[in-house]
Amino acid sequence: MGIASRPAVWLWLAAGVIALAVALRSPVVADLSGFLPDAPLPSQKILIEQLRDGPAARMVLLSIEGGDEAARAQASRALATRLRGDPQFVQVANGEPESSAADRKHVFENRYLLSDGVTPEAFSAAGLRESIRASIEGVASGTGMLSASLLASDPTGETLRLIDGLAAGAGRPRMVDGTWASGDGKRAILLLRLAAGTVDTVGQQRALQTLQSGFVQVQAALSQGGALQLRATGPAVFTVESRERIQHEVTWLGVVSTTLVVLLMLALYRSLRTLALGTLPVLTGVIAGWAAVSASFGMTHALTLGFGVAMIGEAADYAIYLFMQADGGKDRGWRQRWWPTIRLGLATSVAGFATLVASSFPGLAQLGLFTITGLVAAALTTRFVLPQLLPADFRLPGLESLGRPLLKAAHAARRLRGAVFVLLLAALAVIAARHDQLWSTEASVLSPVPMAAQQFDAKLRADLGAPDVRYIVAVLAPDRERALQGAERVGQQLQRLVDAGVIGHFENPARLLPSVATQRARQAALPAPGELQERLGKALQGLPLQPARLDGFVQAVEKARTQAPLPADALQGTALAMAVDGLLVQRPGNEGWLALLPIGALPSQLSEGAVDAPQVRAALAAAGTDTLLLDMKVEIDTMYGAYLQEAVYLSLAGAAAVLLLLAASLRSMRRLVRVVAPLAAAVLCVIGLLVALGVQMTLLHLVGLLLTVAIGSNYALLFDRGERDTTDPQDIERLHVAVTFASLTTLASFGVLAFSSVPVLSMIGSTVAPGVVLSLLFAAALAPSGVHAE
């Protein structure tokens, strides 16, 4: 019989090709934002926009280490000079004053449009007299708050007021040779902002490469360059690095796990042909799962593929079960005795994972869909295609040498029943003792950024006096002008909180770029030249300043009074532009404009970074504009908590579905208990083990438990079936060899996953690997004594 006459094989081949085409059609996404959910609440939606593309997401902190202080400062200056000429970097700050020369010029030249000190009262004769007298006194007292050189051009002190406002809250790093250094002086520090947002990962990656190659050239040009090292940190670096790490991990996990499974199968089959046949269901499963995810989501996350790699171990089992029974051409025995059991095992897996597909967390939904489709495809291939491809004289090498010891071991395992109960009790005790802190409610546990990298980032931020932004007031408005007007009203309220010592400081895009309405109001407050000179004449009586000295002032006021309001691009070419760009953003999808006012805590609140949120909310309500106070940490954790809760419900529903299916199929309470007991014990012991090791359970551990149930149920079902249907001792041996190898392949692939440095993968791996081993041991130990009687 040729292959051509077997329709199932042809159908399978065609489906495989189509699935592969579908799978490859949509992209594989590796940045974590693709794994994060779309948020239902407006605040969460803004938050996710911020996470993905906000100003914070573009920040890069650089540290230059090694060499001596002078060499580091020199390298800092050389690198900054290089990068300032590159449009990939919108801001390059290292403490050098040149970096803000354009900023100071902008502030000085536009002082009468920018300063909130410009009011009709302030420019009355009395108001002018008061502010000029104060400026002269400032020069006299001379603690340096007012420079004497500004007295003639800016006698009312607007520049000082503006610079004070801008400098408020900005940290002052230590300086070495005119460049920023860490608190201990051992590192030079630079702060960059990239032009590319996180959505443009390729652009960010290119900018970081430019940075590295620029540093190599700086090193080459310096005599001591070789001793220096550059380290970069910040959200943009994390995004690019975790993307690279995920890609790298998924590749090596695939290679290692495939190699292990292949070696195990070779050890069992001792035939390359059998091995090749055995991998067909696996390949089919992976391609089908990938195609299903690709078609439903429009993209596949690399983590889903990485997880799919672990599926290799599970799908390899089906072929093992088949080969065991096909040995010597006995495939009728397979269909009658083994297939129904595998079908039931498959059904329980599908029932368990079907609930995940309903999850609103895209990553989980992808995992669920991938698993279901992959397992079904692998099982169907094993059932309908593989038997047709088996040669008539198919034989496995003698299994007696493996089967006998395994059978003995299984026999011995039943003496360990007592130990199972002891383990179970211990696990329950551990769980009971820590029941209130079983679950981690912090979303950061899912972050792929290693702890050491997070700590380094925090250290540099502390050196720079730039703590992580936790609170942001978002002003929502239909257009740019109204967003700025809203920000101005909110700013007045927040300033009151600063004065009252409730918050440390805040940033405001309207401070650098006031709304047109406010600029016009300030222009209206400025008197015409003749009027101003008359008022100055009165104001300066008795003061040591002649009105004639203030011609520059009169001209500057007249220019401000008659000029067009500053346009949106007024800040171009200054470092201030980035601050406004980041804080005043047009939302995607025609949703209007957003002004963002990040709030900094008081120094006394810095350890926790928490401000008095109710007071801030009250102040916002008083501003009478459409605002939201985003607490980044609370919002993210709340969002994560909601998904965790949803996942708990879904998992419980999945477990219930598995239970119902088993009950309906086994039709015997006694058998149901026998199948479920080892599973339940294994799940509880895995939880106990994790908790005892100090691990807090997350969403992904939950998924791992669900997978343990799905895989473990197969073992228990096989033992159950073996007891009922088989009296042939050779069959019983084969059963033990098959189940043992099936669990070994699963252990290998998930065990490899457990060593991943990507938390999402290692969490699943470290749950499933022990779960599978325990499921098998418990299934053997709790099997009824009749089975193995010889």
Binding site: G144, S147, A148, R172, M175, Q546
Partner: protein, 197 residues
């Protein structure tokens, strides 16, 4: 912070350092340093006249200066309006009305250099002082003048010269010429040592 801070600091610190100068036949800068090395807290009143190019007449301020070895220096302006500037260890604290600011000296390298050289002076470390300044002492015991010219580039950006005039052991004038044209002349009168110390 403005450039003036540094000039003022300089003046204040020198005033503290030098006022109870002991009289001697002829002193070198070395002898001056040695005299300064063994003193307790110093307190003085001052009157300062500041000549600013755009103003018709000099503006005046007055207040107190204080030095507590080894590292605390204070300038308290009492009129025309209260302001104070205190350096303690590595922290510079400014107060104007109810506005307070604290700045670590590490963030102000020029001021730090200045303060460090004056602390060195107070400890009698001539070498340290000479790292930033060129010193010359003229006149005799009855009427002497100590002139300082900045040799460090960062100081030279702010200050053209400093002249301190004294008579016997009493210092009476510190004159600072800034590079921006502002000149200040400070009259200092040291107070008798406190009895509670």
């Amino acid at each position: 912070l403005g450039d003036q801070v540094k000039a003022i600091l300089l003046a204040a610190l020198i005033a503290c350092a030098i006022s109870p100068l002991a009289a001697s036949e002829r002193f070198s800068t070395m002898e001056l340093m040695l005299l300064l090395a063994h003193r307790g807290p110093v307190e003085a009143t001052f009157t300062e006249r500041r000549f600013v190019p755009v103003l018709d007449r000099p503006v005046e301020s007055a207040g107190r200066l204080r030095f507590v070895p080894p590292a605390r220096l204070e300038k308290h302006v009492e009129r025309p309006r209260p302001e104070s500037m205190v350096v303690d260890g590595d922290l510079l604290m400014l107060q104007q009305g109810n506005r307070k600011r604290s700045v670590p000296l590490t963030a102000l390298p020029e001021a730090a250099l200045l303060i460090d050289s004056l602390r060195a002076t107070l400890a009698g470390d001539l070498d340290a002082l000479q790292r930033g300044w060129t010193l010359s002492l003229t006149g005799d015991r009855a009427r002497w003048t100590l002139s300082l010219e900045p040799s460090a580039a960062s100081l030279a950006q702010l200050v053209s010269s400093v002249r301190i005039e004294g008579r016997e052991n009493d210092l009476y004038s510190i004159e600072v010429q800034q590079t921006d044209g502002v000149r200040s002349v400070m009259q200092v009168r040291s107070l008798p040592p406190r009895t509670d110390r």
